[in-house]
């Protein structure tokens, strides 16, 4: 019984959170944000089936996301014109998934013949090609304008029409939960295990009876299926699909989400998609430098904690599994390190904001307010102050890091020494 709660607990908890969220954040903006995050979680998890679980780095996975979106919009419009059989909007994502699967099987056959760097390049090539085609084949993709639809095609069960955003939110939440569960279970199948094996050591797999190419193809196709579901959900949510959705930029965004969240654990992409999309939506309005921060964050993750944010959490798992009190000695060194890190980051942000302000200020912007303090980038004082904070913070980071690391080392050693409690 305990086992069952332990296993089902996270899923039931997740479902409760998904149901409750609209009661906490009820504005239209928040609903759209949460809906987008929901479908991006599906996309990110699908992407991680390639990157984290199959070891395939793709620069073009948005192709399956976007093509499914285009197909969905067309299908909804055709339903409107009564040219195709009616499918309730509730089940439309499945259709999107099948479109993703179709193109995944087709393109995957070619691109999964190679792994590693070559695979990455082929994915980039297909991404560029499809993006270019969206502009050439106007009848299908309608070029830069993209295509539109009205998702309200009829009344479904319980009078749901998917007109109000809240209904779409619950549609996405439902599919998100379903897909997450499905992808989680997939990791525990023979396919999932061999996919991991191909990631770790593709050559060895060939000597235990498996064609690594076939595994990659299968992983690619299944991943495209889920990416297609996400793309269809996107089409239903936004009621518009354009070339942005298939572009390499979109592929890059999902890569950033997954990698910053953490490729090594199942929850990593969920964390990454939630955090990055939230930051992106709230920060783009307040700072021009958002893309720079995103890039720096990504590079920092690769350099300093390749496990991503989820990796930072899971590295403490062996400790709290033994006993949570073992975490106590970590608090102070961690807090000191974190304070130093925040200081240096804030200093750098101040400097970058002032640089941007100087290089691309609008005449109507008369003042720059950083962290609630008015700073004049044309006088020396803020430069000195922010440089001081950044440098001092940097030194403090170097000083406090060793004690944080050694605290973790001690804790993990203690945890190993103790029996499981």
């Amino acid at each position: 019984m305990n086992m069952l709660v332990g296993r089902l607990g996270p899923w039931i908890g997740g479902a409760i959170v998904l149901i409750a969220l609209p009661y906490v954040f009820s504005s239209g903006f928040a609903l759209t944000l949460m809906s987008q995050i929901g479908l991006l979680i599906v996309f990110a998890l699908a992407y991680n089936m390639l990157l984290g679980q199959g070891g395939m780095l793709s620069f073009g996975h948005a192709v399956y996301f976007g093509l499914a979106g285009y197909f969905t919009i067309h299908y909804l419009n055709f339903i409107y014109e009564e040219e195709v059989p009616y499918i309730p909007v509730t089940l439309i994502p499945l259709l999107g998934g099948l479109v993703g699967l179709f193109f995944g099987i087709l393109i995957g056959y070619v691109s999964t013949r190679r792994a590693g760097t070559t695979f990455a390049m082929i994915s980039l090539g297909f991404g560029e090609m499809v993006t270019a085609l969206t502009l050439v084949l106007v009848a299908i993709f309608n070029g830069e304008d993209g295509i539109q639809t009205d998702r309200v095609i009829g009344e479904e069960l319980f009078g749901v029409t998917y007109g109000p955003n809240i209904e779409v939110y619950y549609l996405i939440a439902g599919w998100c939960l379903l897909c997450t569960l499905a992808m989680f279970l997939l990791t525990r199948t023979p396919f999932g295990r061999i996919s991991n094996a191909v990631r770790d050591n593709a050559e060895r797999v060939e000597f235990i009876g498996y064609s690594s190419q076939r595994i990659r193809w299968l992983a690619f196709s299944l991943s495209s299926f889920f990416a297609g579901i996400a793309g269809a959900l996107h089409a239903v949510n936004i009621e518009h699909v354009g070339f942005e959705q298939v572009s390499v930029l979109q592929s890059g965004l999902v890569l950033f989400m997954v990698y910053i969240g953490g490729t090594g654990s199942f929850v990593g992409p969920i964390i990454g998609a939630t955090l990055l999309y939230f930051l992106q939506s709230t920060l783009t309005g307040v700072t021009e430098a958002w893309v720079l921060y995103l890039g720096v964050m990504f590079v920092a993750v690769i350099m300093f904690f390749p496990g991503g944010l989820a990796g930072l959490i899971t590295m403490h798992q062996p400790i709290w599994r033994v006993h949570s009190r073992l975490l106590a000695p970590l608090l102070i060194p961690y807090a000191r390190f974190f304070a130093a890190l925040v200081a240096s980051v804030l200093g750098c942000i101040g400097l970058i904001e002032m640089l941007y302000f100087r290089s691309s200020r609008l005449s109507t912007e008369t003042e720059l307010i950083i962290f609630g303090i008015e700073s004049d980038p044309f006088s020396a004082v803020p430069w000195v102050v922010f440089t001081g904070i950044a440098v001092a913070g940097g030194f403090a980071v170097r000083k406090t890091l060793p004690s944080a690391v050694s605290a973790w080392n001690t804790a993990i050693a203690d945890a190993r020494a103790l029996p499981r409690g």
Partner: protein
């Protein structure tokens, strides 16, 4: 007599250099056959040719009655031939348990299944448990394989290789880099797992070779210069001259 492996006139060149220069060899069904030879003789290359890592430049290879000359590695494996590697070749980020599971999966017929959960596959988990206990890693089954000690990784390497239950087992220096006590354990492990099967082993440690092998082939510069029982090889003049005589270990 029925041969497990038959090599006829096998050659392999990389660019202008010919590494394997016409090897004819027969491995009998059920025997333990050792291949010895100096460094650079082409032993690992020969393994790579047999197991399908590269195709040979010329010649033919048969596994029992099947021609496997130009087959891919996984096809050969499915026909019942498995191998281990000289450099440890495991799935480093996966748990020890999952490493062995992977070795069993195909042979147990689960192939590429994405609709059944490994945790629920009784035949898989039973067999994995047997092998893990056999190679002495049952207690460490939840550790990531990359964190195992060297000797444990070698044992795991063997475990993965034999997990599929293949009839013909090719081992490439399974005791390389081990201490004396570890070698003893390894040899007994090899003896256990090759019970009733055909074993081919490349080995530098002559103690292991003479202890384990029913027959021995000597490979020097891409050619087999002698094949015979341990005592025949020990007394062969040609081998003495080419190999043992020059101060074998």
């Amino acid at each position: 007599m029925n041969n497990a492996l038959t090599l006829t006139g096998v050659r392999k060149s990389f660019g202008a250099t010919e590494i394997i220069r016409g090897v004819d060899m027969e491995i009998r069904d059920g025997e333990r056959h050792a291949i010895i030879g100096p460094n650079g003789a082409g032993k690992s290359t020969l393994y790579n040719l047999i197991s399908g890592r590269f195709p040979p430049s010329a010649g033919g290879i048969r596994l029992y009655d099947t021609d496997i000359t130009n087959k891919k590695a996984f096809e050969i494996n499915r026909l019942g031939l498995t191998r281990s590697f000289q450099v440890t070749n495991i799935f480093a980020r996966m748990s020890v348990l999952d490493n062995v599971r992977c070795g069993c999966l195909f042979a147990l017929g689960h192939r590429y299944a994405w609709w059944k959960l490994v945790g629920r596959l009784r035949d898989l988990n039973d067999r994995t448990a047997v092998i893990l206990k056999d190679i002495g890693l049952w207690g460490k089954r939840d550790l990531p394989a990359g964190l195992l000690s060297y000797a444990d990784q070698r044992a795991l390497e063997l475990g993965i290789a034999v997990a599929g239950g293949a009839n013909v087992i090719l081992l490439d220096e399974p005791t390389a880099g081990m201490s004396h006590s570890e070698i003893e354990q390894a040899v007994s492990l090899i003896r256990r797992i090759s019970e009733g099967k055909t074993l081919v082993i490349v080995e530098h440690d002559m103690g292991v070779v003479f202890d384990l092998a029913d027959r021995i082939s000597v490979l020097v510069y891409g050619e087999i210069i002698a094949t015979g029982t341990p005592s025949e090889i020990r007394s062969s003049a040609a081998v003495q001259e080419a190999y043992l005589g020059t101060g074998a270990s």
